[in-house]
């Protein structure tokens, strides 16, 4: 018996770019998510990659992925009567998500206090790079700078080069994921206790959440963590090693020793030196030597072979995949991770599906909306 877990929840989604992710998550599990777009459409519609590289607001791959399951209406926030329409909608909606700069919504009369007066049970989630107030509230935000001011950027990359950011808009996406969790917390509170909530989500804090230890380590030991490439952060000499990415004959693999049976690595690679006590006692202290020894074996084998042989011996190696290898991967396709979505202008698009599998109330990927597609449905004869 399959249900729709977020049935009945109505969401006004006024976000842009990768901040759209929260609305996508809610829509995928059955909430009615209405995207409020400016007259030219959400800027994400103009971000590549495009279907066959055609620049068109209906053909952006980012939009087609990020806005699945949502409806779309167009309102011009510079026009007073359009802003009033939002206030009207809010009366019958449960959740409003937005990602404008601090103060902008309030300047339109759409701040939480103002909307709460119209709809006392409203849950409003505002996502910004640094938060609604404080010394950085007026800062010009960006993915890279939120990353920088979180401490996370500093820790990514090689020790002999500049810090490097992660792929694309990872931090923005994480902030929107955090918003989704915050929203469900507020939904739970409202359904169990009553009342709305104002959620102030910071992308910088979403990146801070990824740090995983260096801040606490500094507080307790005064040690300042640095960049370690693809090695693990804790670099005490007796710390476990290897866990790192290394080249092999035809590409790269992630190499990881068995934490319980530490001699398996040396056996797999037929390198007895790896099992000498000196190495086993202070593996991290011998990291460079271990890398050199491993390369003798790794450079003789292709990545699929490396991983097959290692996994057979319960060594948790994995291949470094390219995006193309992922799209064609047997495991993912067998599990129906990718879905084929029909779109009136983009055609049939293969794209990522569910972020998780709920057996009782499964995720559903419905196509992204055309700009203003649901204007009449949602706004009636206004």
């Amino acid at each position: 018996m399959q249900g729709i877990p977020l049935e009945g929840l109505k969401v006004l989604d006024m976000t842009t770019s990768t901040f759209n992710y929260a609305g996508k998550l809610l829509a995928g599990f059955g909430a009615d998510v209405v995207k409020v777009e400016p007259p030219d459409g959400d800027p994400i519609r103009y971000q590549p990659p495009f279907v066959n590289d055609q620049v068109d607001p209906e053909l952006s791959g980012r939009h087609l992925h990020m806005n699945t399951g949502k409806r779309s209406i167009v309102l011009d926030l510079d026009i007073h009567s359009d802003v009033e329409k939002i206030k009207d909608l809010v009366k019958s909606f449960d959740i409003l998500i937005e990602s404008y700069s601090p103060g902008y919504m309030e300047s339109l009369g759409l701040g939480y206090e103002q909307l709460n007066a119209i709809q006392p049970e409203l849950i409003m989630a505002s996502i910004t790079y640094f938060g609604q107030d404080g010394p950085y509230a007026d800062y010009e935000g960006s993915e890279l700078v939120a990353d920088a001011l979180s401490g996370y950027l500093y820790l990514t990359g090689d020790s002999d080069k500049e810090p490097v950011k992660c792929f694309d808009n990872l931090i923005e996406q994480q902030s929107s994921l955090q918003a989704a969790v915050a929203i469900m917390t507020a939904v739970t509170a409202r359904e169990l206790q009553g009342g709305g909530d104002y959620l102030d989500i910071s992308a910088t804090e979403a990146a801070l959440f990824l740090l995983g230890g260096p801040a606490q380590m500094y507080h307790w030991t005064d040690r300042i963590a640095g960049r370690v490439g693809t090695r693990l952060m804790n670099s005490a000499p007796q710390m476990f090693y290897p866990s790192c990415i290394r080249p092999c004959k035809d590409g790269y693999v992630h190499v990881h020793s068995n934490t319980r049976y530490v001699d398996l690595l040396g056996i797999l690679m037929e390198q007895p030196r790896l099992n000498e006590p000196e190495i086993l006692e202070t593996p991290m202290g011998h990291a460079d030597e271990i890398d050199e020894i491993m390369s003798r074996w790794l450079m003789k084998h292709d990545k699929f072979e490396v991983v097959r042989m290692a996994q057979e011996m319960r060594l948790p190696f994995t291949e470094v995949f390219t995006p193309e290898e992922i799209v064609n991967d047997d495991h993912l396709n067998e599990r129906n991770f990718f879905v084929e979505v029909d779109h009136p202008l983009a055609g049939t698009v293969k794209q990522p599906g569910a972020p998780g599998m709920m057996t009782g109330t499964p995720w559903e990927t419905k196509r992204a909306p055309l700009l203003g597609e649901h204007q009449d449905e949602v706004l009636g004869n206004q």
């Binding site: 249900g3 977020l6 700078v145 920088a148 792929f167 917390t185 693990l232 992922i326 990522p352």
Partner: protein
């Protein structure tokens, strides 16, 4: 005001990082978290631990900082589930729980007799959440991996790092936090469904599939255009200059993102380089992207002798997105983090004040921050054995004698 998840009891049978992260998010929001630990866990304390505070017992196993950070807002139940009696206690406890979370390799819970079918028999409306690396079905179901191995397979490694170097990796444990957040979201979704219908369900959160959501633009470029993206360091697809530049001092870096023509004009003015503005090579965003290497060189020379904090202030006050790449020691002094209490401090009974990284939001009704300090070993034993399951002193002593439970780590 009560926290959102108060009154919801969650049984956490987890290891490593992803499961515990999911657990602490829910615990931070008020859920009653019972984390099951083997009697022999925590027995070895790798490296050092901070000293105990005055007046507190000296129990190093309660003071491992990574463990305390990951498992705050929970209490610890010492239980050997592999033993028959231990399993029976686990099942009886599961009857009284709303949710169970596990993130062991797929075969483990079946071998222990606590898989979904077993739990469902005792508690039909349980919400049971597994967080395997790859899923319980498919060619990779028997494959083992930790977070970094999943980073390799998700495309994140291929797409992160320097163009002239090997595949990189998000710092530390990105995969696990991503999985934990997704799982917490889905669990609250399932709880809503259960409130409305009385139905529980089985949920599987494959860590790999959760992480693939972060590389969607690259996957779309394959499916739409057959294009296989490569890593581009700190460069941006359509903004330039965009990068991380060295400032004066050890490990002093500033991130700079010019995201508008106005910002570019302001930057030229501040650098006193109007010649750059006039230069055709930099006259539009597209041209600047094409010539970004040259721009990066110019900027590097300009920032090299500047103080990073002053530079951040100067650039931001002129509407330019710039920020210091803060080092871990600088986080506790950052004015914005202080303003927002980004670190939530607990009062740990054996360590004293402990800074936790909380989830990334503030809430006007108090659903923010953390709920409780890190779990003292066996701290939930009495509550579970006596209050929930009605065991007697003799019952508990038998369990201790059989090493099915303990009040401190078993070391033999």
């Amino acid at each position: 005001m009560r926290k959102a998840l108060e009154g919801i009891r969650i049984l956490e049978m987890t290891t490593a990082v992803a499961g515990p992260v999911c657990g602490h998010i829910l615990g931070d929001m008020g859920a009653e978290m019972i984390k099951v630990e083997e009697p022999r866990s925590r027995a070895r304390v790798p490296g050092g631990v901070p000293p105990s505070i005055a007046g507190a017992p000296d129990r190093p196993y309660n003071r491992q900082t990574n463990y305390v950070e990951l498992n705050r807002s929970k209490r610890s139940l010492s239980l050997n589930v592999a033993a028959d009696e231990g399993r029976e206690i686990y099942l009886r406890l599961a009857e009284k729980c709303d949710v169970m979370i596990e993130n062991f390799a797929p075969r483990v819970v079946g071998n222990l007799g606590i898989d979904y079918e077993s739990i469902k028999q005792r508690n039909p409306s349980i919400i049971y959440v597994s967080m395997p690396a790859f899923g319980k079905t498919g060619p990779y179901r028997d494959r083992g991996s930790y977070g970094p191995g999943i980073d390799a397979m998700s495309g994140i490694s291929h797409l992160t790092g320097y163009p002239d170097r090997e595949p990189g990796k998000p710092a530390n444990f990105f995969c696990d936090q991503n999985a934990g957040l997704h799982a917490a979201f889905i669990i609250m979704t399932a709880l809503r469904h259960r409130r409305r219908t009385g139905e529980g369900q089985y949920i599987e959160m494959s860590m790999l599939e959760g992480e693939l959501q972060s590389v969607a633009p690259a996957l779309m470029d394959v499916t739409l255009n057959g294009r296989n993206r490569v890593r581009t360091g700190n460069k941006h697809e359509w903004f330039a200059p965009h990068g991380v530049y060295k400032c004066d001092g050890e490990e002093a870096w500033i991130a700079l993102a010019i995201t508008s023509e106005n910002a570019w004009n302001q930057l030229c003015k501040i650098m006193d380089r109007n010649d750059l503005k006039e230069n055709a090579k930099f006259s539009s965003m597209e041209e600047r992207v094409n010539n970004s290497d040259e721009l990066d060189e110019i900027l590097s020379k300009w920032t090299a002798d500047k103080d990073k904090h002053s530079l951040q202030k100067l650039l931001q006050s002129n509407g330019i997105s710039a920020g210091v790449a803060l080092r871990p020691n600088e986080l506790f002094e950052d004015p914005q983090m202080l303003h927002r209490s980004s670190f939530a401090w607990s009062d740990h009974p054996e360590m004293g004040p402990f800074p936790h990284t909380r989830t990334a939001w503030k809430s006007t009704r108090g659903n923010t921050g953390i709920s409780r300090h890190g779990p003292l070993f066996g701290g939930a034993n009495d509550f579970v054995f006596r209050d929930l399951l009605g065991l007697t002193d003799d019952d508990i002593q038998s369990l201790i004698d059989a090493k099915i439970t303990s009040y401190s780590p078993v070391t033999d």
